[in-house]
């Protein structure tokens, strides 16, 4: 019973987050300017403006407009892009594969480095590995993604002429943006894994196991890591969110034709339907990831009641 309630609360939170963000995007787009005036020619008469407003439903009250917006949004209908004249959601979905490709690649690099490093440094505080881990964590926190991207371009594209600086194509195109995007993730995952390893190795059951003379290897893999997995899943879930956020900057730097860059461009063109569709799409994806990690939790650790 408790379990079901807890799970329901988590799912409600995720749904709430999406609704909150949708309300923010909706209210602010309506407050910040009149979309109708963007759509009509500059020499249009006032009557034509009113006509366009009525056509867009802007003459009704805000709550009524939100209901129309929300019911449309539930069906994936965010209206037409002001810039392209095509359905906003279609335009957004067309750019998702590129973003997914980049995010997955970055996640792969990030975890491949961070997971072993975090565990190693957590097991051996103050070792060389720990120093490396601390350095990466600090570096990842302090380095702006756009600057790292630019530095990589300067080194590998301009100076060494090894890799393409922008666009999407073969595997070569993926390397630089992937590296730039992975650094943040690498830093935070290393950091949290290290902390959770240190925490676990302090537990009584580890001391007890050690006292029983269990080998270091068995201790690590059978006892510590099994429990550390819970922390890892949380981190991975949380970081996927900021990874998705990071694609916005990375895609702009590398002219990667993904969703993040598309949203930024749409903001500059004041193409609100696309911004709404894009932001809400990302929010839903992140909410789904968060809920999934919450569901995986109890499978890994029987002590956790969701």
């Amino acid at each position: 019973m408790n379990k079901v309630n807890g799970l329901a609360a988590k799912i409600a939170t995720s749904i709430g987050a999406v609704i909150l963000l949708s309300m923010i995007t909706f209210i602010f787009t309506r407050v910040s300017g009149d979309p109708a005036s963007l759509l009509i020619p500059s020499d249009a008469t006032y009557e034509e403006l009113l006509e366009m407003r009525a056509l867009l439903g802007l003459d009704r009250s805000l709550p009524a407009q939100f209901l129309t917006f929300a019911s449309g949004a539930l069906k994936g209908d965010f209206g037409l892009s002001l810039r392209y004249g095509q359905p906003a959601m279609e335009l957004v979905l067309a750019r998702v594969p590129a973003t997914l490709e980049l995010a997955f690649f970055a996640a792969l690099i990030g975890w491949a480095v961070a997971v072993p490093l975090g565990i190693l440094s957590g097991c051996k505080p103050n070792s060389v590995w720990d120093a490396v881990a601390r350095f990466i964590a600090l570096f990842g926190q302090s380095m702006p993604v756009y600057w790292l991207g630019i530095l990589l371009v300067m080194l590998f594209s301009i100076k060494l002429r090894l890799l393409p600086a922008s666009g999407r194509g073969g595997f070569g195109h993926l390397i630089l943006p992937g590296l730039a995007l992975s650094l943040n993730l690498m830093g935070s995952v290393t950091r949290v894994l290290r902390a959770s390893m240190v925490e676990i190795l302090r537990q009584d059951y580890i001391r007890a196991a050690r006292a029983r003379g269990i080998s270091q290897k068995a201790l690590l893999f059978k006892h510590a890591l099994k429990n550390g997995a819970v922390g890892m899943v949380t981190v991975i879930g949380l970081q996927l969110g900021s990874l998705v956020g990071g694609t916005v900057v990375t895609e702009t730097v590398f002219a990667w034709p993904g969703l993040g860059r598309f949203i930024v461009q749409s903001i500059q063109f004041r193409d609100f339907p696309v911004v709404q569709a894009g932001v809400l799409f990302l929010a839903v994806v992140i909410a789904l990831i968060n809920t999934t990690t919450d569901l995986i939790y109890p499978l890994l650790d029987s002590r956790v009641r969701v």
């Binding site: 409600a12 939170t13 995720s14 709430g16 987050a17 909150l20 963000l21 923010i24 995007t25 602010f28 787009t29 407050v31 910040s32 051996k124 505080p125 103050n126 070792s127 601390r134 600090l138 570096f139 926190q141 302090s142 380095m143 702006p144 993604v145 756009y146 600057w147 630019i150 530095l151 371009v153 300067m154 301009i158 935070s188 950091r191 949290v192 902390a195 240190v198 190795l201 302090r202 001391r207 050690r210 270091q216 981190v235 969110g241 900021s242 998705v244 956020g245 990071g246 916005v248 900057v249 949203i263 930024v264 903001i267 609100f272 911004v275 932001v279 990302l282 929010a283 992140i286 909410a287």
Partner: protein, 304 residues
Amino acid sequence: MAIVERDLTKNLPLSKTAAPSKSSSQRQSLGGFGVKLAFAVILATLLAAVFAPILAVSDPYRQSLVARLKAPIFVGGSGPHILGTDALGRDIASRLIYGARLSLYVSVTGALGACLIGTTLGLVAGRYGGWVERILLGIINMQLSIPFILLAITLVAVTKPGVTNIVFILIATGWAGYARVIRAETLKLNEAGFVESAEAIGQKEHLILWKHYLPNLLPQIIVLASMDIAKFIVLESSLSFLGLGVEPSIPTWGSMAAEGREYLATHWWLTTLPGLAVFSVCLALNTIGDWLRERLDPRSTVRG
């Protein structure tokens, strides 16, 4: 195995109050130089920001077609522009100094605002519980599940670029982190002996909060704030880089880096210098944050 033994000593309940264990004092002496350097960097940046009008050799806004894209002296340039000029002939050193002003102003105000709101709400939720806590927790969880930059972009998209808006966005995205940590710490303090004693002798509520809760929450607050300022500097510069930051006329590190991108192949310093400014200031702040965390909170070595 030696490490393991050291960890065991830390595990004793006594070590909560005892002096920092051997390992962390070793680390502190090792990190001593780095921390001093970090303080020096922050102090220099602060001074530069405060005395910008005096320090900047030339007007950061003045354009000069004759003096376009002059090289900094370390790549063979000469003349009054120590760090060269940008594509409009504006002095880069002066723009960097004014950029520091904006960066620090925005991030410190943002961190202060987020800290005030987050601490107050976290304290109220942790101390009094009930429906306030439940509602607050719901909002915190909601907000924490939306990535920082996504929320910022949404807000920027629909408001106009500007300093006040950026500060507001930083506060709006940052308060939840404080509220969560402060609430958790407050819950621990609720059980503390000194709080119960204070209640037992009938001390007034606001005195309990002021004298018993706040001083004990302060270490957490300081650590969070130092990290948050760094996070905010990166966020502000990223938004400015994307053209979603403050008014384009104001020199910022992020917008300088963006403007220099067109000249990457020929004038690498245009983007490298502002990026270096962001990186070094944030590295310094995070180093100080890590150091403070170890100093102020001997219970934990590292926390995520």
